[in-house]
């Protein structure tokens, strides 16, 4: 029994739109990370071209913006697939076979961690703990966590996700 989520609606990157969506953080102390999250929500990633604009907005150097963007695992620098799948690698999930699950997922999707499937549907990432450690192993698809995932249930899920993505194109 697995909920099937719709792929996130992402826009094509444009500097104008990027500038517009982060204006709410102007003069808000310490909100550079909020702004980066906003860009990623809007476009799926943080485009290189947005960094000088952020530097100006927050009155910091471009190096500082680059430093922050590259420090945090969440921020992508290139467009992801339509779904991002994170597979937990932490201890509690390891105790329930996350290593075997990860291997099966990589084989099924024919792609490695930090890569996107050839059809552009799934980006595969690692995550360390989703806070659902009594129902391991866990994965997360975009914002939805799935507990007690097996290779078989994962396969069924990806088929349903693919169907959903095809409909919502």
């Amino acid at each position: 029994m697995m909920p099937v989520v719709s792929p996130a609606k992402l826009q094509e990157f444009s500097l104008d739109e990027a500038t517009r969506v982060v204006q709410e953080f102007k003069d808000q102390p310490g909100t550079l990370i909020n702004a980066l999250h906003k860009l990623q929500q809007t476009f799926g990633y943080v485009d290189e071209a947005a960094l000088p604009m952020l530097a100006k907005l927050f009155n910091v150097s471009r190096a500082e913006v680059h430093g922050v963007t590259s420090f945090y695992h969440d921020f992508r620098r290139s467009k992801p697939g339509r779904y991002t799948i994170r597979v937990c690698q932490a201890e509690a999930c390891q105790a329930m076979g996350s290593e075997e699950l990860s291997a099966a997922i990589k084989q099924l999707l024919a792609c490695d961690f930090h890569e996107t499937t050839a059809d552009g549907l799934f980006t595969l990432e690692k995550v360390y703990c989703l806070g659902n450690c009594a129902c391991s192993p866990n994965i997360m698809v975009d914002k939805q966590t799935y507990g007690r995932v097996s290779p078989a249930s994962f396969k069924a899920l990806t088929q349903q996700l693919a169907e959903k993505a095809a409909v919502s194109k």
Binding site: T31, I33, H37, D74, Y128, G131, A134
Partner: protein, 512 residues
Amino acid sequence: MTTRLYIPRETTASSLGAEMLVEAISTEAKYRNLPIEIVRNGSRGACFLEPLIEVETFTGRVGYGPVQLEDIPDLFDANFLTGGQHRLALGSVDALPWFKQQERLTFARCGLIAATSVAEYTKLGGFAGLRAALALSGADVVKTVLDSGLRGRGGAAFPTGIKWKTVLDAEADQKYIVCNADEGDSGTFADRMIMEGDPLSLIEGMIIAGIAVGATKGYVYLRSEYPLTQQILDEAIANAAAAGYLGSNVAGSGKAFDLEIRMGAGAYICGEETSLLESLEGKRGQIRFKPPLPALKGLFGKPTIVNNVITLATVPVIFEKGAKHYASFGRGRSLGTLPFQLGGNVKAGGLIEKAFGLTLRQLIEQFGGGTASGKPLRAVQVGGPLGAYFPESLLDTPLDYEDFAKAGGMLGHGGVVVFDTSVNLAKMARFSMEFCSVESCGKCTPCRIGSVRGMETIDRIVAAKNEQERERQHLVLKDLCETMESASLCAMGGLTPMPVMSAVKHFKEDFD
């Protein structure tokens, strides 16, 4: 008559399909012409029973679980809306031994009420603590916290009252309350559960802290892996504000306190308080040197209380029931209760709140019911990825900060991860080093470089062709771990040796 049904809106339940149940039950009830009201509570903590549905009947609240989509027509046929018999029927959830043996103070309301409802929260004692605290001076509030014996539940176990006193005594035009909700430790989910199940208790705790020390602004630094938590907490903050508990005149006291959620971005190190403050300022999450203490120079250089979610969410019950009542639980210097989180390879995992002092074996056997796989237990990691691996022979260690330290471990945030005989501890030790290398902030060398050298050394131990070479590499690893332990700037590099060396100490055969 409308029947009240409880279906958790919570990550564990949702990860097992709870949202689909809400839809299916609504549809089926409409089809059968049965009026129902679905209340979205938090989890009661019994993850092995999720999705757990409860029904309010004439004879009390009864549970059914774990419910799958295909059980729904069957449950209706069995008249579950009036408490009918069914293979998934649990009777009164409170009466189950798993719950009956718990001592719930912090989690007393969790799972019982509509999570974000101020009215339901208040009905079960909510905001009584705040009212009691508002009648006291700041110094007396701090004294109450000191008297309760409450220590930081994030893992470091520093006396909360002392931290508060430092901030109270500091002179500044602005002070802050920061809640550390960057629950990154594997095997821990208590922060998430209380924020999803009883978020108003955290909000109330933060308000009490703010009013006590004269801070008018609070931040919850929440990890981005918890998007559902963010939604629920956001809703609770809005409800608290609408009811007059946040804003310029908190509960009519004339005092101001505001609350804001800030999302992390997937960096484990931001659970370390100084790194968290850097991140809140919009910077790279790099560790700061201490001193100065955050209590004196914290967020934006101002005096700041940084407390874990559970620490803050425990504050209201201390004021509601008295410091003495809270301190009557537990033993020695570990007073009160700890919400233990039982996970990994365990049959009945979940959140178990108990007074300090029960043994690890009692927790795993009485509550957990043994391993999920049915194979014998081989190792238990307590206290997250920086905690020690204990063998079966140490299971009788009492769960108490001091006893755990004496046994070479760390209680930390109370996460307990069980492994069966399929585990290889050399692999787990290597993973600890790998995790440290991935998550190190990079500021200090022992952590940044030591973790990489640690992985390489463990690889060489495992690949050693003879005993002599293996022992030589074991010496290198020991030396490296000592360096990391004594020369790292924070707990990340300083404690990574704990799981590694405990694995070597108790499971040396896995390295051969």
